[in-house]
């Protein structure tokens, strides 16, 4: 379980490597690919070879996006807020637990199996239970699920990062007769930070997905997940797809911000 959830943060790239012409090519390539895929999709959907309910055309989806724009924005805000609350809570609890675990080996031994158990709880198993627990008009269950999903990678990566302080740095701080608080602030936390932010990047997508999927299992409608399932249930496929597009944009926004932060923190280490 740790294998998938802890990934070494990227090394600081050599100065100027990514923002030159290579950077432009890297930004343009996915756009070109995306545009081509949409064009081919439009051709196939427009040709009548595939039933419209199976694969609505991009144009039809686009029209729905325009028509339901305000609803998409408010739905995105609901789901986004649930994901954000969960991400922040899960991150804080993850960092604090990792710090606690790092101070005592015995605590580490107690927390590790708990985290291992949390890591394998499927959202689909938990969502109906929590939704019922917190009542039909509460977002708390969803936020809790997002927090749980976010907690695991943040905890695992932070715990790993806190073990990465270099012996030469420890010797140096000891030679300065630095206090434990100074060592923590100057060396330990700063060494762990890139690892924590890798955890946050992984957690950001997980939080959005969890918040979204949790909406399929009851609770108040109005979020993107709820509207996707309502639209699909009433055979409004282009509209369902429009909300899917909104969900993708929401997920991308979360992971872009998180990757940006990760890059910033991993620049020098």
């Amino acid at each position: 379980m740790t294998g998938a959830a802890t990934i070494a943060p990227p090394r600081g790239r050599p100065p100027g490597a990514a923002w030159g012409s290579g950077g432009t090519a890297r930004a343009v390539a996915p756009i070109v690919l995306g545009v081509s895929v949409v064009a081919v999709w439009q051709l196939i959907a427009g040709s009548g070879l595939v039933e419209a309910y199976l694969l609505p055309s991009p144009a039809a989806i686009g029209a729905e996006i325009v028509e339901f724009w305000p609803s998409m924005v408010s739905a995105g805000a609901i789901t986004g807020l649930n994901a954000l609350v969960g991400l922040v809570a899960g991150t804080l609890i993850g960092i604090i637990s990792a710090l606690v675990a790092s101070t005592r080996r015995s605590l580490d031994g107690m927390l590790a199996p708990i985290v291992a158990a949390l890591a394998v709880i499927p959202i689909v198993a938990l969502a109906p239970v929590l939704n019922t627990m917190f009542g039909a008009d509460s977002q708390t269950g969803r936020q809790l699920i997002a927090a749980l999903a976010a907690f695991v990678p943040v905890f695992l990566n932070t715990a790993r990062g806190l073990r990465q302080t270099q012996p030469v740095h420890r010797d140096l701080m000891r030679s300065y007769a630095a206090s434990n608080a100074q060592i923590m602030r100057t060396i330990t936390l700063r060494t762990a930070a890139p690892f924590t932010f890798t955890g946050i990047r992984l957690a950001s997508s997980l939080a959005v997905i969890s918040a979204l999927v949790a909406e399929y299992f009851g609770g108040p409608r109005g979020g993107l997940g709820g509207l996707i399932s309502t639209s699909a249930a009433s055979s409004a496929y282009p509209r369902a797809w429009a909300y899917v597009v909104a969900a993708i944009i929401l997920g991308l926004a979360f992971s872009l911000v998180a990757s940006g932060l990760e890059r910033l923190v991993s620049r020098r280490r």
Binding site: G12, P15, Q166, V168, H169, D171, L172, R174, S175, Y176, A177, A178, Q182, T186, I187, R190, R268, R269
Partner: protein, 274 residues
């Protein structure tokens, strides 16, 4: 602030043993070590790999504690000397904090001991000039060559104006040209600061060039085999032309013979003859 120490020895090591409890059993790293380093004196520790040079240096720095015997630094226990910041230390790895600029790295020991920011800024500027890194204060370690990083580490070790400098193979990872350049720089710096230096090295010429005395150690268990005084004039007056001087080669031979216990030098192991 530390005027009273002038008359005491910089380092006094008395009957020190160090035994490590390793998984495979006990390792006697040091046995019966006696050593005195005078204020302002430059002493090198040389000997084959594993003879306990780093261990001895770490005991002086109070990064480890002796199994028996005592280590005093400027008349106090090694522990007290560390707490009072009586020494500066540099390791084989520069050990800079990669997320801090050159200036911020040098400022680290000052910050930790509450110097005002004005004081710190002035001292850092002085140190940067001392190690010849003007214009590099804002750079980050990954933008510097190995030699430059090592100079930053030396500047950092000098930040609190210590009267004792402990160095564990600080030039070990440098190429020969940079190394010789850094040696001459170190002599200049130690003359300017008047600090005593305990310097661990694998290189006989390096030890000879830098030192007032060369302490030759032998392994299993680590002990001092010989102490060879360098009859080469004061370290402050030495310059690169000494490397081609006859007296220099005589001293190299003296150290080499001490290393091999008087036996022919051809069986050299673990010590570089360059």
């Amino acid at each position: 602030m530390t005027e009273s120490v002038i008359t005491t020895d910089a380092v006094t090591v008395t009957a020190v043993d160090k035994v490590f409890e390793a998984a495979a059993g006990q390792v006697v790293a040091l046995s019966g070590i006696d050593l005195v380093v005078e204020p302002g004196e430059f002493v090198s520790l040389i000997g084959p790999s594993g003879c306990g040079k780093s261990t001895l240096l770490r005991l002086i720095a109070d990064l480890d504690t002796p199994s028996s015997g005592s280590v005093e630094v400027f008349g106090t226990s090694a522990h007290q000397a560390r707490v009072d910041q009586k020494y500066g230390i540099a390791f084989q790895q520069a050990g800079l904090l990669p997320w801090r600029s050159v200036a911020a790295n040098i400022a680290l020991p000052l910050e930790l001991h509450g110097s005002s920011s004005v004081e710190t800024r002035e001292r850092v500027a002085e140190l940067i000039a001392l190690v010849g890194l003007d214009d590099f204060g804002d750079r980050y370690p990954d933008e510097l060559s190995g030699g430059m990083q090592q100079r930053v580490a030396i500047a950092r070790a000098l930040a609190k104006k210590p009267e004792l400098l402990l160095m564990d193979e600080p030039f070990g990872a440098l190429d020969e040209m940079t190394r010789e350049y850094m040696q001459t720089e170190l002599l200049r710096i130690s003359a300017e600061t008047g600090a005593a230096v305990v310097f661990v090295t694998h290189s006989i010429p390096e030890a000879v060039y830098l030192s007032d005395r060369v302490v030759v150690m032998s392994p299993r268990p680590g002990r001092i085999a010989a102490v060879v005084p360098m009859a080469l004039g004061s370290t402050a007056s030495r310059a690169d032309d000494l490397r081609e001087d006859g007296a220099f080669f005589e001293m190299i031979t003296a150290v080499r013979e001490a290393l091999h216990g008087g036996a022919p030098a051809s069986s050299a192991r673990g010590v570089e003859n360059r």
